[in-house]
Symmetry: C2
Subunit: 422 residues, 2 copies
Amino acid sequence: MGSESEKWILMVTARTPTNIAVIKYWGKRDETLILPINDSISVTLDPSHLCTTTTVSVSPSFHQDRMWLNGKEISLEGGRFQSCLREIRGRAQDVEDKKKGINIKKEDWQKLHLHIASYNNFPTAAGLASSAAGLACLVFSLAKLMNLKEDNSQLSAIARQGSGSACRSLYGGFVKWVMGKEDNGSDSFAVQLADEKHWDELVIIIGVVSARQKETSSTSGMRDTVETSALIQHRAKEVVPKRIVQMEDAIQNRDFPSFARLACTDSNQFHAVCLDTYPPIFYMNDTSHRIISCVEKWNRAEVTPQVAYTFDAGPNAVMIARNRKTAALLLQRLLYNFPPESDTDVANYIIGDKSILKDAGIKDMKDVEALTPPPEVKDNIPPTQKSKGDVNYFICTRPGGGPVVLSDETQALLDPITGLPK
Amino acid sequence: MGSESEKWILMVTARTPTNIAVIKYWGKRDETLILPINDSISVTLDPSHLCTTTTVSVSPSFHQDRMWLNGKEISLEGGRFQSCLREIRGRAQDVEDKKKGINIKKEDWQKLHLHIASYNNFPTAAGLASSAAGLACLVFSLAKLMNLKEDNSQLSAIARQGSGSACRSLYGGFVKWVMGKEDNGSDSFAVQLADEKHWDELVIIIGVVSARQKETSSTSGMRDTVETSALIQHRAKEVVPKRIVQMEDAIQNRDFPSFARLACTDSNQFHAVCLDTYPPIFYMNDTSHRIISCVEKWNRAEVTPQVAYTFDAGPNAVMIARNRKTAALLLQRLLYNFPPESDTDVANYIIGDKSILKDAGIKDMKDVEALTPPPEVKDNIPPTQKSKGDVNYFICTRPGGGPVVLSDETQALLDPITGLPK
């Protein structure tokens, strides 16, 4: 490569969704390779509302690997980034771009440096699985840049080494992370159970709940659970395998009552083993509990469940409604029980797919204040003042597609001349 | 019995303690006989601070069985009262009081009616096991009135049929409820592991926590757990039996670190199986969680645990400190993190054994406000305004003795002439 050609920059931009587990991953059998103690199943969330966009670029003019997250430079020195980078570089292929006159031999990738910029279209600190989408997007975009021959399942096994649940973000729709048996992790990867069109009437509403306490990281939390919980092995070996089979059936048959029952009980059991950890881990708070009570009360009042809920390693509620009509009724209940502060614009309180708000007949705060208690609430006690502000906002979304390359260069996060964030 | 003699009233007054389980009872194998799915172990609380006093009386002039709780007449028709009354009447013996000229034959007890008055020296609604102390006191006092030959263990099997945990209130100190194997429940009763003098340096502080939500009754809660939790049988069959052996050893050897570890983990596991119930049951709230965090943080900062905690079917925290010095340090931490409302008199906020307050160097609100963050709190953030009022009050107490007959007639709750509440 001559001095003239050293000015080139090759870049790829990709977008990858987040996912929410409906049969939970909690506990590793190998901390370094990130191998789980049980299978898990997730729903991929529509990237229009929750996704990571990542631009990866390579140039002989780059002097070191660098990364920016949401515009701020971050260290790539962590073992998990290094695992992913090493695994991908090891599989890199020859890349030729005749138009730009670029010719990279596979062995060149070991010497070439990368610039990476990543952006979440949702608050990173909100506990919405940003690391899952982020690591998946890093692996996917690098694989495209370096022309890897591996398919998405094989890539998922690389993403897994960055962040366990990231492997499930390599596919859209409904995804299973097969735990695998091998010590080297080669058979621990994600497979798609069904794409997002298979069950497209589902609507997802996420309640971003205010947290008063700093949370335990999921990495240290699950390590503590495996080391101290007297129930986790029984869960992993006896309970989850049956639920995995049942959940696959429920998804295959679009059987919402079974889907809801399994998702709710498995979320609750995950939080139960957290509580059985020593010292105990509390991810849900009183607001989370009240959201569950609101949904459970309604589900019991109906002949068949209307809404499933699931909570990850934080207080946020992910609610899955069986269809749009149910989602509108759910939104009314949520706004009745968890109204925004009086000075909030409803448009900032319900974000994402706002058409659900229209279905619910809500235009502004007056409509929220006019909401009457749902029929299943017998005591008729209006929500207390205290409830206001317990939820920061709600995001309306749906099951969505997997990673895609964004070929439109205007969407790149790095400047094509400088290789630095735009 | 002639018309003249019909004016006599015979009465017995007794006092019975409450108890707090340190290895929890949760789940029945027989709903009617109240037979548990595992052994449990409790500490009896000093009746000076938490007890039930009951006066039972019999007279040929009484026309029906009647009962008053805290001065208010209540129904005796519930199956549990009826079970206890039937079991005791069936074991009644001849009673002769020569001084009063009373002679009751054992068969007379089937026809004679009872008046019963019961009083808790603590708020009934506070979730402090009032039913345990109440049923135990009912059975104990009736047994004395009717001259039963049964010992306290045999009486505990009767009290068990009124309220499971009541059987553990028939003894002071450290008590084990043996689950038994028989279908008729004859071998399911309480035994004393050690009396209250065996380990008398322990100090108990109870935080009565404000609840925002109505709680699930423990009767329906444990039924739901047995029917729906995928973890409860594993707990009952695999986990608890080992813990029972370890807890007996810890008590025998006054091994506080083991005692604390077992009490805390078993409380947490009980709440974990509640969360694993469908629909999930939440007894602890954010304040309970914060009390646990406060204790855990301190325990981790010390070489060896200073305080154990345990929570029953509600948000109240029962903390067991290894000795008086530790209890004073605990009280400082609790008052720092959970101060009373500014207009509260400290004497109404810390009740029971107030000498601990003196040990902690607290005389009034000024002393509370002057408390500095404990050394294990690194962030140095003062407790928020919000924390005030999260705890209603604290009760300082200790392990205590078993049921006693109060021979001083002035302590009777019924008028010796009318047989009605004083």
